[in-house]
Symmetry: C2
Subunit: 331 residues, 2 copies
């Protein structure tokens, strides 16, 4: 009995449970040169929403009635592969299956370090690298500058804000609940937090929290929230842009004021990116993040759903703001 | 009798003649250390529209009932200044007056080279530097890439396109009349020209003219035109953005689809700039542009209005697309 989660239909607007289907297959067996993997932790991330649509993107869309796929930590339960033995833990972009076989080519062996195991899905994985490389390579933070982070309590934003603090910036986070606002100040050390859902005049709140203006806006939300930040950017502002979760579920393009005039007025830069753009920088970045983590200068938070069947719910929760830090599913 | 053009009222939406007023003053006289200047050529440029509004911008607004100001070539007609003698030609950011005095501090002496004199207001001045530096420093063109230029028959666009050709790009121009489309192909050597006003499906026309997609979009128009280009950008596209003439006259912010999703999808960069951001590069840039000009590899076009009183009309003509190349007024 092997549970498999497939894309039942392409979501229109906000995804819901009916877009997914759990099917039952036989547990496969590992042939020569293959390993059998048991899924231990599944990463769910906003970018997967893009792959559920049929439109062209930076990665091909998921196929209907085929398993979805994301970063997964799995355990080797059978091995006919020289490089892996039973009990090894691996990280890979794997299918949403309780059990699957792999030829091992795209698997990365990881240490079974209980304290940091799931960090490979977050701070030492895609989301941490996105935060660190987007902020440092595009944002070019300098001590004393003001950094605003949207989605500040999320997996990417919570790391971007902490890295900004480590590099000497004043850091202001935008987030969607009072609990998250408290979290980013108390746990992640942000200087200020704004709950954009309960703030009457967001533009004014940003101005008040950023008396010297905004030098860097690390944006993974987009939409009206970003328009409010743009109104307060300084000359030569830099905007690393890695996500637009507020726009992912629009079935028609959402409209906002054209941003060209403010970009000209402020000689500002917006650079869209995906973490893979900086692949050559991964080893150095992971070394830096690991150092900060072991020194206790960087911390992370996880929201953990339990049970393989909960993977779709966890994914949907991302769009309802149900995660603080990295959203993962423990199988 | 000295005619002076002042800002009579701040334009709302598209400027018109009633926003300007010609007043008569006495011709001033040059004190010790001063020169008396007679205006010979006046540059009018779209960016002046921004200074006519009261809102914060990268330069302070013009004051009501005070003379406007732009790049002007003038002749010294009286001098009590050791560095200038009668008959010298100078370039400066001067007031819209037939005659004015100056302490000489911000004046640049220029050679009286009849063939190139007005080039100091265009290809060797602000508009040429904007084109060359924006394209090379932000656009980073590589041979074989596709460059799309908006406002392609204008003072900036016509130079940006030619520089793109000199650097080995395929160059496609967007412009607003068949005459201009003809001009940019025949005189400026663009590979393709699209009249965006008469093209039924602009997105399709851009795709057809750019079979390998758009690597660089030199934008000085913004708005819907730019949305159409964004739909065809390639991965890692660069967008130098120096103007948004289509939006300058909006009295309320115009709305368009949020561009964050396409920037993420394509890992694309938009960099707003004004030419002054690259001031340290001016000498090298002027040397390169002068070389190309004297070698006959770079050409320019001017639309010349005659008579000092025509300065406001020439300025208004910019927003009606009445200029091919640089718009200037010969006094």
């Amino acid at each position: 009995m092997n549970k498999v989660i497939v894309l039942h239909q392409r979501p229109v607007g906000t995804p819901d449970l009916s877009d997914f289907k759990i099917i039952i297959e036989e547990v496969p067996s590992a042939d020569d040169g293959e390993v059998l993997l048991k899924t231990r932790y599944v990463s769910v991330d906003p970018y997967l929403r893009g792959r559920m649509s049929d439109s062209e993107s930076y990665i091909p869309p998921f196929e209907l009635n085929k398993p979805l796929r994301s970063a997964i930590i799995a355990e080797v339960t059978d091995s006919n592969h020289t490089q892996f033995k039973v009990g090894d833990l691996v990280l890979g972009n794997l299918e949403w299956k309780e059990y699957q076989v792999s030829d091992g080519k795209s698997l990365q062996a990881i240490a079974n370090h209980p304290a940091y195991l799931t960090a490979y899905l977050g701070v030492l994985g895609m989301t941490g690298l996105t935060a660190y490389l987007g902020l440092t390579k595009i944002g070019s933070p300098k001590p004393g500058e003001t950094l605003v982070v949207s989605g500040a309590a999320g997996a990417v934003g919570s790391i971007a804000g902490q890295v900004g603090k480590l590099l000497g910036c004043r850091v202001v986070g935008l987030t969607g609940s009072d609990e998250k606002a408290h979290l980013i100040k108390s746990k992640f050390g942000f200087d200020e937090a704004i709950n954009y859902k309960t703030t009457n005049d967001l533009g004014q709140a940003i101005k008040a929290a950023c008396p010297d203006g905004v030098d860097i806006y690390f944006d993974n939300v987009g939409g009206k929230l970003s328009d409010s930040v743009l109104a307060t950017i300084n000359k030569h502002a830099r905007i690393p842009l890695c996500g637009a979760i507020s726009l992912y579920n629009s079935s028609v393009p959402e409209l906002g004021p054209y941003i060209q005039p403010v970009l000209i007025k402020k000689s500002a830069l917006i650079q869209g990116f995906i973490v893979g753009d900086f692949a050559s920088e991964f080893p150095a970045a992971i070394t830096q993040l690991t150092t900060w983590l072991t020194e206790g200068k960087l911390t992370y938070h996880e929201t953990v759903y339990e049970g393989f069947e909960q993977v779709p719910q966890a994914f949907l929760g991302l769009f309802e703001g149900r995660n603080e830090g990295k959203m993962i599913v423990k199988v």
